[in-house]
Amino acid sequence: MITLTIDGKEVQVPEGTTVLRAAEQAGIHIPTLCDHKHLFPYGGCRMCLVEVEGARTLQPSCTLPAANGMVVYTNTPAVREARTFVLTLIFSERNHFCMYCPVSGGDCELQNAAYGQGMTEWPLQPNWQPYPVDGSHEFIVLDHNRCILCRRCVRACAELVGNFTLGVQERGASTRIIADLDVPLGESTCVSCGTCLQVCPTGAIIDRVSAYQGRLKDVTRIKSTCVGCSVGCGIEMIVRDNRLLRIEGDWDAPVNQGVLCKIGRFDPLTDQGERILTPLVRRNGGLKATTWDEALQVVASRLQTMKGRNGSGIAALASTRLPVEALYSFKQLFADKLDSGIVTSIEEGVTTALPGWVARKLGKPFEGTLDEIHNADLVLAIGVDLVENHQVAGFFVKRILPQGCKLVVIDPYDNGLHALADFSLRPKKETDYDLLVGLMQVIASLGAVRTHPIGTHDLTRHTPDNVGRTTGVPAEAIREVGRLLAEAEHPVFIYGKGLTRASFPTALEALLDLARMAGALGDTHSAVIGTKGQANSMAAYLFDLDKAFDLKGHQVAYLALGDDRPGTRLLEQIENVPFVVVQASYASPLTDRADVVLPATIWAEQAGHYVNLEGRLQEARQGLTPPRDVRSNLAIFQALAEALGITLDENWRDALQQRVWIGQPDACR
């Protein structure tokens, strides 16, 4: 530990702590602009200058490591004068007129810094040089006139997202943030994650939807969980007058630490189509608006007559975007009480049934958490495209590659990760097992087995040359990847749908054995991660909602979609079902086909829990008030149960524990 004195206060900090962080720890505020707690110190803006006893000049506290016996002053006349001077120069460089800027009034760190120094004017007037405004992007506007060149966006794009789209060109007053080799942002390699937007301290990077729609003091911020996929990122909903203005990543969230992807940040703000605002019942061939009482009666009476008619009665399907509470009520109502023939989820267990089977066979969870990626020196991704889906997990991988982490991608199909991989293996279809055993063989031949495999694999037959012939992957690549796995100190294995879609578990079991041999899976530690599918795939698995939705012979189909938008396959499946109930937020061909439509809340209008891909139980909060006649998915199941004279319990926490978990089960306790 290091002891230093800041403004007369003695502070103890670990070695390597900067003076700025030490001051924060002591509750002393030093104004900053380029600094951001989630980015590496940069030392670009000089707002954080402090006086250090014995130092020749003022020192930037953000890059100055604390040293034993250091005596620091953060608020001397010289420091205050320097801060005002720094601000004076920044204001003189570009167009920083606040009166027509969307972030003025609390959201602008530059303005707040000026207020902090009590500035009532600019000592130097601007030099009136206009800079371009890049409005080419679908969601983000880049206004160079407001830019103070702190490079937070550039650093966030690299350090947090690993995308390296943003950079800087030219020098001096001509310095400009650019995308790629100075192409419009909308035509660049930008993945629209919006992290730059979230870290920009001024109005230089703004988003189209929320600009000019409400200042900090006009809006409400609600912490919640993204339901865009199974990663389960922490978000903040920024709401004004029951309108969702913006979604930001929650810097304090354990899963994503502030980072979001396009699906979580921007997609929910785009036009989602026509909402269903009242219950509808089919009469004389057409869907007619009706009351909840009538709609529930129509559904209840039909369900009552079909109750328990296994195979020819009720088939029920719920979206894996529904909260745990709703899924639990759904399961109780349709499986336990109505004894329906099929009770499953929209994903039909495609991402969970297989790992679930393996977990049950092992008698315990076998997956680790996403945190494992942060320290990886080798990532092996198999059957999973983290550029397309589960993007935040993909950012975690991409951002550690410059630190020397090796990436091995195994996927016969197009995969966004192929381009970034050190080794891109494209085995022939259905030969994953052979390839994985081939890699085991290399590790074994190098005498580098760290934990012995559980399964029995024919290593002698799976030489690189033999496996090369079976899989079409060059034998040399198999040797090289095997060697990397043998040498890696912290290998991480990520698998996805490409592996779990297979109907037999051998490839997944081989992957686990490979992970064991490489030291990534032991009794107390796992660096194996399965991406699953939607926000509550895991909860659906834990409630046994992972069977195939085979409708043959069923007389009633109950589709609890919520705000999910299933593909056309479901429409084809229900084509010949005599009575179809659709519980949905948005109008779709499925609601058009329905006999009864029950209007349900969207994600932001309901509260509940989600179990993410790691097995982490997280809370999603309500940010918006639903339209008058729209009910939450849980409330609809409860009302339906009441109409049927059925009592539902709310012991979902206990029910979750009934099955063997795939990932960490502790979060739920």
């Binding site: 007129f97 606040c98 009166m99 207020y115 009532t120 004017e121």
Partner: protein, 180 residues
């Protein structure tokens, strides 16, 4: 002791700062008890007393030679000059024009506007002030107190005038320091 005399005038402004002055509602009665309000653009007397006032308030940016004259006249007739509002303090919305060439701005305003017919031309009457680069008041005359805001809140204006009336230079911070 006689009440301090206050005169206000506007330069290139939207009148919003003077509206904000009126927005102090019944406190204007209290203000009149504290100060002797002389010339303002919204009262009958338009020009500050020739024998001087204690406090002169200017709103708006310096946009033409006429604005320059008005600013100089106020400066020469007051002891303490207050620049009130973002246009007077920084140049404000008016100063957006500085990011373009003056000729382009005049052409856009008088010739190319959608509502202008083929007769449109830039006014050149010798009676008119000549447009200049837009400047903050302090670029033309010395300013003693800057009160930013677009417009400054009525509370802020009341505070500033009441402090000046009592012989103190107002210190703007927290809620009273707003640049928008």
């Amino acid at each position: 002791m006689p009440k301090p005399k206050v005169a206000t005038d506007w330069l290139a402004a939207c009148a919003g700062c003077h509206m904000s002055l009126l927005d102090m509602d019944e406190r204007i009665v209290k203000l009149v008890e504290l100060v002797d309000i002389r010339a303002t653009p919204i009262t009958d007397l338009k020009e500050p007393d020739e024998n001087g006032v204690d406090v002169g308030v200017l709103t708006g940016a310096v946009n033409t030679t006429t604005n320059e004259e008005v600013a100089r006249r106020m400066r020469s007739r007051c002891k303490i000059l207050v620049a009130l509002g973002d246009c007077a303090v920084f140049g404000g919305v008016i100063a957006m024009r500085n990011f373009f060439k003056l000729e382009d701005a005049l052409k856009r305003a008088y010739v190319e506007t959608e509502s202008t017919d083929a007769e449109g031309k830039v006014p050149a009457d010798p009676e008119l002030g000549v447009p200049t680069r837009v400047r903050a008041v302090k670029e033309v005359v010395k300013v003693d107190v800057c009160v930013p805001g677009c417009p400054p809140d009525a509370d802020t204006i009341f505070y500033v005038l009441s402090e000046l009336a009592q012989g103190r230079i107002p210190e703007l911070k927290d809620e009273k320091l707003q640049w928008h």
